[in-house]
Symmetry: C2
Subunit: 309 residues, 2 copies
C-alpha cells in the first residue's frame, strides 16, 4: 500500500517547480509569482461523503462549511487572506430533493465565505451515480509582503501551537472550527513565523512533515502539549496525550519562531490576542523526539492520519 506521503513525494519528483510557480507540491498551498512579483497562493482540498463528513448525520450546510474552512485553514498556514473561492461538486443522481440539498450546501458555503469577505467566483456542477463529492479551491494573497512555507524552519527555533489538540472528529469540532486567519494575520504583522503549517492530520505526523521539509528535527515537550476538552477525561494521561498528537482535524496553526521572536514574546511587550503555546523546538538532528517530564528524550513515531491510497 502506498501512503499519501510517499505518493506526494513521488509527484514532487515527477513535477518539479516551473516558473511562474515558486513553491509547488508539498506545502499547504502553492505560491505563484505574479508580474509585479507579489505572491499569489492557491490551495485546494477535496472532501468526500463518508470520509470527511457523513450526510446521514451531517447537514449539507455543515459539509459545505467544512469544505471551505479546511481550505481557509491552508491559506492561514501560508500567511494569506482569501481572495476568491471555486467550488466543484458531484451530486448523486436521483437524490431526493436535490434543489433543497444544493440550497443548503451553498448557504453553508456562503456563510463562511462572507465571514472572510470572500465570494464564490466559479466552479462546476455535475450529477453522477456516486456519492457526494466537493472540491474547493481558494486563491489568496499574503497579509504582508510574503507568504510563509513549512520548509523554512531552521534548527534551534521555538515550536508553537495556537490552541488545544485532540478529539475534533468525535466531538464534531471538525465541522465547526474557526480557521485561524485572524491569528495568521496577527502573527504576520508582529512575529512573521520562520515556518508555519496547519494541523490537519495530527501533531505528530504534521510536525514530522514540517521537520522533514525544513531539513531539521523536532523535539516536543510532552507536558506542554495542550489537550483539548473534547478529549475524554476518563482515559489515561498517556491516552489523552496520544489523542492530542494523533487525532487530527485540529486545524490549529503550527508555528516556528526564532529565538529572538520567542524572547520578545516572553517579554510581554506585545501579547497575542489568542493562545500561542510553546510545545517544542527544532533541532539539528533529524527526526521527531518526545521530551517527557523527567527530561527523557525518546523517538516519537508519527501516528496521525496517513491517508492510505
Amino acid at each position: 500500500m502506498t501512503t499519501e506521503r510517499d505518493f506526494i513525494r513521488s509527484l514532487g519528483q515527477q513535477f518539479p517547480v516551473l516558473a511562474p510557480v515558486r513553491t509547488g507540491i508539498g506545502d499547504d498551498g502553492a505560491v505563484i509569482s505574479t508580474e509585479d512579483h507579489s505572491d499569489l497562493v492557491v490551495v485546494t482540498d477535496m472532501l468526500l461523503d463518508g470520509v470527511h463528513f457523513d450526510l446521514h448525520t451531517h447537514s449539507p450546510a455543515a459539509a459545505g462549511r467544512k469544505a471551505v474552512a479546511v481550505n481557509l485553514s491552508d491559506l492561514a498556514a501560508m500567511g494569506c487572506r482569501p481572495t476568491a473561492a471555486f467550488v466543484s461538486i458531484a451530486v448523486p443522481r436521483g437524490m431526493n430533493d436535490a434543489a433543497t440539498f444544493l440550497q443548503e450546501l451553498y448557504e453553508g458555503i456562503g456563510q463562511i465565505l462572507s465571514e472572510y469577505s470572500t465570494t464564490l467566483a466559479g466552479g462546476d456542477t455535475n450529477s453522477w451515480n456516486g456519492p457526494f463529492a466537493i472540491n474547493v479551491c481558494l486563491t489568496g494573497s499574503p497579509f504582508q509582503q510574503r507568504s510563509v512555507l513549512r520548509s523554512t524552519a531552521r534548527a534551534q527555533q521555538g515550536l508553537y501551537v495556537t490552541g488545544p489538540l485532540g478529539g475534533s472528529f468525535p466531538s464534531g469540532r471538525h465541522l465547526t472550527f474557526r480557521p485561524r486567519l485572524a491569528e495568521s494575520e496577527w502573527l504576520m504583522a508582529h512575529f512573521p513565523p520562520q515556518a508555519m503549517m496547519d494541523l490537519s492530520d495530527g501533531l505528530s505526523i504534521d510536525a514530522h512533515r514540517l521537520a522533514e521539509s525544513s531539513g531539521v528535527g523536532i523535539e516536543i515537550y510532552e507536558e506542554a502539549v495542550p489537550v483539548h476538552n473534547d478529549v475524554p477525561v476518563q482515559i489515561s494521561r498517556a491516552e489523552r496525550f496520544r489523542a492530542a498528537i494523533s487525532d487530527g482535524e485540529d486545524f490549529e496553526l503550527l508555528v516556528v519562531l526564532s529565538d529572538e521572536q520567542s524572547m520578545q514574546l516572553r517579554s510581554g511587550a506585545i501579547e497575542p490576542p489568542f493562545p500561542l503555546i510553546e510545545i517544542g523546538r527544532t533541532t539539528e538532528a533529524n527526526g521527531l523526539w518526545l521530551i517527557d517530564s523527567s527530561g527523557l528524550r525518546r523517538p516519537l513515531r508519527a501516528t496521525g492520519w496517513e491517508h492510505p491510497i
Copy 2:
C-alpha cells in the same frame, strides 16, 4: 428538475462579484485583479467516471489528459495561457493495483501539461467507497494585456468557429482533442475577439449562452456550420446538422469579431494558420435564430447538453 443553467444563474445572484474578483460565476473562468492590475484567470472542472469518461474502456492516462484538456480549453476561451495546475482525486478504495492506476493517471496529466509548459503545483489525494473523480483547477494569465469574456459581444458582429463540430463523444475525440491555445494566442495577437467561449456543450446551447450573457441575439447560417468527419455520413443532412450543433464536447472556440476585424480577415492581409469559419452574426433582437439556405429565418432551440442536477 433544475438545469445547470438555472442553477448557475441563481448562484450568480447569491454570490455577486466582490473585489479583487472582476468576473465571477457564469463565464469560462473567473478573472481576479492582481496588485499590478494584471488579470489572473482561474478555471476549474470536475470529471467523473461514468459521465465524462468510462474507466472500463478508457485508460487512466486518457482520463487524466481529458481532465486537464477541458480546463486548458477554458483558458483558451479566456485568451489565457496556463501558469499552474492543481489536481484533486478521489480513488475507489481497494482498487486493484492502485499504484499503477495513479502512475498512468499522472503520466496522462504530465504529458499534456508539459505540452503547454505547465507544471502540477498542488492538489489533494483521497480514497473512498465511490467511483473515481478528478477535479482540475488551472491558473492562467492573458496572452496579451487582458482576458476575453463571453459577455462582451455587441450586436452586428461576426460569429466564427475554429473547426468542424459534432461526433466528438462517440468517436472518442473528446479524449484526444487539442485545446485551442495556439489559436487563442494568435487571435489575441492579431484579432483580439470582442467575445469568446469554448464549445463544450454543443454550438446551439453555447451560442445561446454567449448571446444571453452579452445581451444580444445570434443568427446561425445553417449552410456555414462545418460538420465534423466524426459525424456519420449515412444519416440525413438535417441529422448531420443537428449532430454538429448539439453533440457537444467539441472544444473549438466560438469567436466574435467586429465588422472591421472581419473585413481585415477577408482582405487576406493576415491569414490565420488554422480554420476560422464564419458561421453567423450577432443581432439586436435577442434569441437564437437559424438562417437556412433559402434565407428563411426561424428560431433555433438550444438542444445541446444541459446537465440535469
